[in-house]
Subunit: 326 residues, 2 copies
């Protein structure tokens, strides 16, 4: 029986997503299960493996069809030994995820931090295609990121490389959850944008936002972009500030790493051109000209699938037996 | 006849430095010649090769003793093909330095940007020893840098990776020679420190600096540190500012790359502890705690030899026939 499948897994604090992928990164089937966070690492790994067998069986496959399993986790990892150093949301610490999953499945396993996996996914099958030097960031509740240099993820000495959201963009800026001041995350996350427009709704600066807040009972980042499109000055100011500081933070990556692409995903990025043009302007202003000219800044295209696709890429990349595709 | 030597070369705008090194990176002999900048690439390469033969002969060696030649140049390179993309101070542009030097010598040649070579030198034989994830910066007339991740130099897509001096540390800061505002170089270079104390000497803020200026006719970065040691407040302010912004710029590297060491060389760094403690404080303030804790910030130890040693490392690393040493 010839192998044809890669299993990609994305372990999150709420759900474990599982996908079967072809050798070219196409998703053939998907499933998800709740993450049994409270039950400890062995139950988490056991449930994940059961769900993999179930998905394979459901689509008429067996273990013999599978090249290997790639897993993304929300925390720093030691990729060579395949150890999860910390994943607070999932309750993992110093977990030999690779060894334990290999023992249970008899298949080769590769692991990676989830933000790094998402970056690899965008490089393999998304808008990062065509360069081996890219950064992928996600503008969500926080700002996550993965850095890829010459096709390799930057882990650093303690696995915390790629903390793009915690680059300082204003030394005098607001306090971040990480304990530092003025991190990119304090301006560019959905949380930061919502905080900004909530303030404008409440302090009388924006009657429009105040009426949306009264009507819905809450505000979302999308409200900021919608209100800005209607000319709401307070919303425009919040978006200007977010775009400026995201672009400034990305300029550090441009100057230091000279990437070919920066790929931006997450809820906030779906606001599209209005945000991207502000990010681009600030990036160009603060990036060394040669480095700015050769760097595209693009929306991510894989959405929530980036993680499982990138996890599968780990298997694709590690196994010489997987046919090489362009 | 068995091989035992590596040739390391550092091509600068004024001189070409040549060294013969052992397989462990020890310098056995050195020479230098003026760089014939005006005469074009073929004369530059020809003179360099003649000087290599002369140094070998002077010490009783021949080409047969040499594993290969490593060359550092002041500008971005394409390392695989061995092409110098631009080296303005030397008048090189799209120069196939590797191919031309190999044709003239019959020896394998590797090339690298000089700041990157210096970083490799510090990694191999200097204070960067013991980690494969390090950044080396040089605080001189400007601020240069090289970034090494997992033992590999970061070149980026156009060879301008590692422009540490042009990371923005203050978006409202002074204009830099590169055309951008508030680059780390505008605060942390010797030039910036001298400009700061010259102003204090001239505007009456520092009678001490004014008297040094009158006596010598000029001020150096060392004068700033000497005056600060005597309690001169204007000098202390200039050094505080330099240390703060160097530390802030290095925090970007800490957060993004999680290096094990940052090695600082160049004239300004020789001021020692007074500058380093300010850099460290600012770095710790703006770097994600896990990344800050595991990163040492150290003075470079190889001085002007870092370039030829790092150039030699290229040969050491590229040739499997060179015995591996720990």
């Amino acid at each position: 029986m010839s192998k044809s499948l890669i299993v990609g897994v994305d372990i999150g604090g709420t759900t474990i997503k599982i996908a079967l992928l072809s050798e070219t990164g196409d998703i053939l089937a998907k499933s998800k299960i709740p993450t049994p966070v409270k039950d400890g690492e062995d139950v988490i790994i056991g449930d994940m493996v059961q769900a993999i067998w179930a998905l394979l069986a459901q689509h008429g496959f067996t273990r013999e069809h599978v090249y290997g399993i790639g897993i993304g986790v929300p925390g720093p990892v030691e990729p060579t030994q395949g150890v999860v150093l910390r994943a607070v949301n999932v309750g993992l610490r110093d977990t030999p995820l690779k060894a334990k999953t290999e023992a249970l499945t008899g298949l080769p396993v590769s692991i990676e931090n989830d933000a790094n996996a998402a970056a690899l996914g965008e490089m393999w099958c998304g808008s990062g295609r065509g360069t081996a030097n890219l950064i992928a960031i996600t503008l969500g509740t926080g700002v996550g990121g993965g850095i890829i240099i010459d096709g390799h993820v930057v882990h650093g000495v303690k696995g915390v490389g790629g903390e793009v959201g915690h680059v300082t963009v204003n030394p005098e800026g607001p306090l971040c959850n990480c304990g530092k001041k003025g991190c990119m995350e304090t301006y560019g996350s959905a949380t930061a944008i919502i905080t900004g427009i909530e303030k404008a709704a409440q302090n009388g600066k924006s009657p429009l936002l105040a009426s949306i807040l009264q009507e819905k009972g809450y505000l979302s980042a999308k409200d900021a972009f919608d209100a800005a499109a209607q000319g709401d000055l307070a919303s425009i100011e919040v978006i200007d500030t977010a775009g400026f500081y995201i672009g400034l933070g990305l300029s550090h990556l441009g100057n230091l790493l000279n990437p070919g692409k920066i790929v931006i995903g997450g809820g906030v990025s779906s606001a599209g051109e209005e945000l991207f043009k502000r990010i681009r302007a600030s990036f160009d202003q603060y990036t060394f000209p040669i480095a700015a000219e050769c760097c595209e800044i693009l929306p991510a295209t894989l959405g929530n699938d980036a993680g499982v696709i990138g996890a599968a890429w780990l298997v694709y990349n590690s196994q010489k037996s997987v046919p090489t595709v362009s």
